[in-house]
Amino acid sequence: MLLEAQDITKSFGSVHALSGVSLRLRSGSVHAVLGENGAGKSTLMKIISGVFSPTSGTLTVEGEQVDWRRAEQARAAGVSTIFQEFILLPNLSVAENLFLGREPRTAVGLIDRARMRQESHRILEGVGLDLDPDVLTGSLRVAEQQMVEIAKGVMRDARIFVFDEPTAALGDRESQKLFELIRKLQAEGKGILYISHRLPELFELCDEVTVLKDGQFAGHFMMKDTNPEELVTTMVGRSLDQLYPPRRPAESAGAPALELRNIVVEGLRGPVNFTVGKNEIVGLAGLEGQGQIEITRAIYEGHTLVSGEILFEGRNLGHSGPSGGIGAGIGLIPEDRKAEGLFLSLSVRRNISAGLLPGRGLASPAATARREIAEQVRRLRIRLRNVGQTIRELSGGNQQKALLARWLVRGAKMLICEEPTRGVDIGAKSEIYALLRELADSGVPVLVTSRELPELIGLCDRIVVVREGSTVAEFRWEQATEEKIMAAAIDGGRA
């Protein structure tokens, strides 16, 4: 047995993140760890990586028991981890990030930049990145950064590799590249622990899975002997009859609430043309960074517009800032939840009531909306101790729901969701999908972007494909398939 964790318990104060969890990793296997947000996956991984030491329980690597206090020790012992939260430092070069903590040194003990650069080239090519190692990491795209992160983890000659939600920030192509790398490691006889909330990729990649629920061991399966339904039931505790809510026929899409007419967004080719019906959920598909975000921001903030016009409820949105979009009744749930959406150090209540902040009169008393907030928290089934809890302590799924609540409390007339379920567990996902559909049915249209095509196909009424900042194709969900969408996304559907 390569790695063995036996009844691991971990408490943070009185919070029991893990209680009596066991996990056995064989060399040459890709072992999935599955569970809801906050189930304890990352905590377990951090224990295996020496970041936390367990409150009780033992960790043995190839038969010998280990007691790590710091991440370096685990690294030295051959555990390489790609953590869930980005740990690249934006102000360092890619090479410096790759070698941080183990920089090659010259005779005099200074950093050997030449060698660092060479090896970085090799490593980057290894993960299919064509980058200058000296480039500032902060200037890379999110997906690129995630790949660098992965490269950093993979390059180490370790026995055990841990991937905590590596695909959360990756597009399809990068994901495929990642799976290639993982299979290579597997072939070399390494042991791989793999966390993801995307079931399909688990079946594609892994050969066994350990499921956690509320910090406890909930089950272990061989992938070939199980199926999604069984896994979901085990991790959520109830069976999800269906992941995606039912859709209405085309004719009930309702009058267009949002119309984009020949808009061209700064720095992109354009034009963009599409509409969102009053009762519709419309998805924006496309390859990584083809302008999806620029378009949603143009609707929400307006000011990146070069030409064309955006009509919302028939009126031209002539705004130049978020408060404009909000004022018109549009709500945004941003791609980067933690950086752009949340106030991590503030309470859940403050985070939700933040939706009420924009508006005239700085001196005027701020609405507290305690009742409405409590109501939405109940309706969205946000898991928290109380609304005064700092939102940092909530899991991604619940943080995401809180952002939804923000706009519901404000009574938004339309919702834009960028990556609505990134890093969110499958149970929470289905709840969020149901909620979005409920909104659309009640006349609050929804515009969604996502890196996960199946999600778009499953959730949306229509899917608009963008390429280089212009709309190139549009599909009703009935005709939409991954192949068609990819084709359009890649060659603009000219075929």
């Binding site: 509320d214 978020p322 408060s323 949340l342 106030f343 503030l346 700085l362 001196a363 701020a366």
Partner: protein, 311 residues
């Protein structure tokens, strides 16, 4: 499923003032035992009266600190204000207020438009404004309008008028910070500028107002001081920046922004004042006073841990 562990933000904000309140009580008792005069009504009123100016300055400082900023220029503004109003020219007071607001404006422009770090920006204006103060009144002296001296010596219901006015202002500021839109915007910006901006907060305007208010309150502190001293002094504000920052942090408002209120910092001012006054009464020499003060600062402050490390 999980029992309460991490103190909640709400409790945090309430609790933030607690440690210093506890300390102040301990201190008061200690002093009361060691010197019968320490807690005499007269002595306490004196302390309040002496600290009115610093309290006013601290109110402004808190607003800036909530946005994760810092205002080092308040001391110079205090000095400049006393320097101006001690000249017998028409509209001296409006002039002083205008000058102060100008400083706040420059700070805000530097920080918002030029992207200068708050510490550095206000450090620069601190220097420049100190120069102006010395230029306006190289020598302590001059005379303030009679109505100001009258104000300083007036007494209402047994309390010095300045104390009463300051108390009122504290209450108003407390309401603004914990209840008004503006207050919430301050905290939002302090917690995450990006999120606040995308959440539709006009961060530019709010930060501007914060620095304007900081300068304005510094000016009020200066006016109060000038009234008390019945004269101007170009260096009288020297210690205000440091003291207001120390008091703010002591009061549980995070220097990293986003969390805090006014009551805590005000208590912080009084704690430091009571401490100094007590040590004077106990006739402890200045050196020991400084050592004790420094040590106590550390103790008091380590009671509230910083949520995220780094500035």
């Amino acid at each position: 499923m999980r029992t309460a562990n991490a103190t909640t933000a709400i409790r945090l904000r309430r609790l933030s003032a607690l440690p210093v309140v506890v300390l102040i009580i301990i201190l008061a008792v200690a002093l009361g035992l060691s010197s019968p005069y320490a807690l005499s009504a007269q002595n306490l009123i004196n302390i309040l009266n002496q600290q009115a100016s610093l309290i006013l300055v601290t109110i402004g400082q808190v607003m800036v600190i909530l946005t994760a900023g810092l205002d080092l220029s308040v001391g110079s503004v205090v000095s400049m204000t006393t320097a101006i109003v001690s000249h017998d020219v028409p509209f001296a007071v409006p002039l002083a207020i205008a000058a102060a607001l100008a400083v706040g404006l420059v700070n805000a422009i530097g920080i918002l438009r030029l992207g200068v770090h708050p510490i550095l920006m206000t450090l620069s204006t601190m220097t420049a404004v100190q120069g102006i103060a010395l230029f306006v009144r190289p020598i302590p002296g001059g005379q303030v309008p009679d109505w100001m001296t009258d104000y300083a010596s007036a007494v209402v219901l047994g309390l010095p008028l300045p104390v009463v006015c300051t108390a009122v202002l504290v209450l108003i500021a407390a309401a603004i910070i914990s209840r008004s839109r503006f207050g919430l915007h301050l905290m939002a910006i302090g917690a995450s500028q990006e999120s606040a901006l995308l959440g539709g907060v006009n961060t530019g305007r709010v930060v501007l107002v914060a620095y304007l208010l900081s300068s304005l309150f510094a000016c009020l502190g200066g006016l109060n001081l000038a009234a008390r001293l019945a004269s101007g002094d170009p260096l009288v504000g020297a210690s205000f920046a440091i003291d207001s920052i120390a008091a703010t942090a002591l009061g549980g408002t995070q220097l990293s922004g986003g969390l805090g209120g006014v009551t805590g910092p005000v208590t912080g001012v009084l704690f430091l004042a009571l401490l100094g006054n007590g040590l004077n009464l106990l006739n402890i020499s200045t050196y020991y006073q400084m050592i004790i003060k420094g040590a106590l600062l550390i103790v008091a402050v380590s009671a509230h841990r910083r949520s995220q490390p780094g500035l």
